[in-house]
């Protein structure tokens, strides 16, 4: 690995790509400390502990819980979801796609795309019942439906993409009691990459905040 001017090892392409590939296929990438995980009995304790840990100057925090615990986002500094903006843009793409479909297939009478007859993609304007070839009124239902369809796909695919899922492996899965994070326990995670992170000190802080259990978790 080449060193850059600061004397730190600069990451190679492999360093950047491989961990992502490993995590996607559920293979651990390297043996190193990931962070500390502390376990709480209920939501309010988690929120209180999260707020105290953030007050103590930690920034790389996460929480695992069996259901959304409100107040945790502000307590540990999780930013607002940007999903809404993505969805509304894609929804309008759906409206436009529906307009284009109906207008091109039923009202476009300009020069045809060369070779369109081979795949059945030529437009075919046809007057039926004396109605106009295209009008927004009859276009409305399909424009509406396709906007909804596009928005639904955008919100589901967008949500998983923003969450970095599917991801079959994650270091927090190495925590001994992780199976209870989807059952009845509330975990606070402090990552080792946090500048304030010192293994023993951080564990001590978490225990003092009322964690029923706290341990260091390796990235293996």
């Amino acid at each position: 690995m080449a060193n850059n001017h600061a004397g730190l090892p600069s990451p190679t392409l492999g360093d950047l790509v491989l961990p992502k590939l490993y995590s996607l296929f559920g293979i651990a990438n390297k043996d190193s400390l990931y962070g500390a995980v502390a376990e709480f009995e209920d939501g309010p304790q988690l929120v209180a502990a999260g707020a105290k840990v953030k007050e103590a100057g930690y920034t790389k925090l996460d929480a695992l819980s069996p259901f959304p615990v409100h107040g945790i986002d502000d307590a540990i500094g999780v930013p607002r979801s940007i999903l809404g903006f993505i969805v509304i843009c894609i929804a309008f793409c759906g409206t436009f796609a529906a307009f284009l479909l109906m207008w091109y297939t039923g009202a476009y009478s300009g020069p045809q795309i060369p070779g369109c007859e081979l795949v059945g993609l030529c437009s075919y304007p046809l007057v039926i019942g004396g109605k106009p070839l295209f009008h927004w009124v009859f276009g409305l239902p399909i424009m509406f439906e396709l906007s909804i369809l596009f928005a639904a796909f955008a919100s589901v695919i967008g949500m998983f993409a923003l969450n970095g899922l599917p991801r079959m492996h994650h270091p927090t899965f190495n925590y001994s009691g992780i199976h209870r994070a989807t059952d009845d326990r509330f975990m606070l995670v402090v990552e080792a990459s946090d500048p304030k992170f010192k293994a023993e000190e951080t564990l001590e802080l978490l225990r003092s905040l009322g964690a029923v259990h706290a341990e260091l978790v390796e990235d293996k």
Binding site: P68, R80, V119, G120, L146, L165, P166, I178, T182
Partner: protein, 490 residues
Amino acid sequence: MAAHNNSAANHPLLEVNPPLVLGGQSYHDVTESVSSISEGKTPKQWYILISITASITVMLFGMLAYLVANGIGVWGNNAPVYWAWDITNFVFWIGIGHAGTLISAILFLFRQKWRTSINRSAEAMTLFAVACAMIFPLFHTGRPWRAAYWLGPTPNPDLVMWQNFRSPLMWDVFAVSTYATVSALFWYVGLVPDLATLRDRARGIRQRIFHIASLGWRGSARHWRNYEMAYLILAGISTPLVLSVHTIVSFDFATSVLPGWHTTIFPPYFVAGAIFSGFACVLTLLIIARWALNLEHLITLKHLENMNKVILVTGWVVGLAYGTEFFIAWYSGNPYEQFVFINRAFGPYAWAYWTMISCNVISPNFFWFKKLRNSIPVMFVLSLVVNVGMWFERFVIIATSLHRDFLPSSWGYFQPTYVDICTFIGTIGLFLTLFLLFCRFLPIIAISEVKGVLAEQRNPGPGVVATSKVVDPKFEPVPVAVGTTEGSGH
């Protein structure tokens, strides 16, 4: 946790609203009672039930194969009633599906927390009902493998033509297929955290399957933030969607010039009818499921009573629509319109009309009485009666308008063939088979959402407020000092 329970029990909200999760349960109890259904040994009754419903489904496949081999003539559809049981069944099943979306989306937006125990099974019901519904238009084409060219805008080098987008039948194709897709997505998004719960309780290959199905969900605060946004958006777009679907289904009739169909009341009338029949169907299924799977503490009498109230209200909306139709027929002064309605009530299909009226308009009125609203046998029978009535409503609208229109020389009387009857019964078998499979293998109750309601019941303060964010502002929440509760260790 004693401190939490005390403060929750004294909460003034609970005097007005009884708790939705009964019996002082912990989060783990909720996980346990829902997950154990899919983890335990398969009960013998399940095998008996599914062997019956699967046999009926096999009959459905047989009937469909027979239809494809011989053509649409095996159904009773003929001049003048070309749209008969097939579209009746289509509208019937689509309508049933609407209650699922109403519960999962509209009640979510109105922050009706009682929906959490029933939304998963209602959404599953939506999917299965829409699947049953789609069979009818697909097989009505006679050549279902060509339907992609006829129904969808598929590039077609043989015909080099396109669909007529000015036709409400095309709108219907887009509405129903969008509805099926969005319902499936909504259902899956709701399932992901619960699949992760099942994964964390499982071992071996089962764990592997649930790990892939839950996409490696781990319940991170960052995940929940996007997840809740996605859920809110899906609820927000499903609400106009569900209203649009039955509106567009009603356009199939309303945009025609046939007396009895050509009315502007159809969209709201169809939507109300859909909710009415759908709630009745959810009720039927849940009464059986909560009894068979021991879920009385999660699907409480309060849930059932609320559904009965919705049935009572929508039953009256439907009754009002019947009355309005008659009034407008008289008030319009249009002799054809007047004839259709007199013929409906007193003509050859009077038996169907009065079955519809007694099932849909008279029977829900039993729910005015709290005692009857809370009686399981009464609500079970009434839910079945309402479903029969709503099937008859669609049959009456379709058959009576078609069988005697403008030209008396073309009048006729529709009679179903055995293929019509067996195909319809077959779809009921398919619906129940899919529902039984769902009950056996997937979490039938939204575990994470019920825990959210439970958290609110335990900590009714600002510290933890679950899925639905607002506690009624009229009631002062009991302050639970965050971090000073028992078990926090300082």
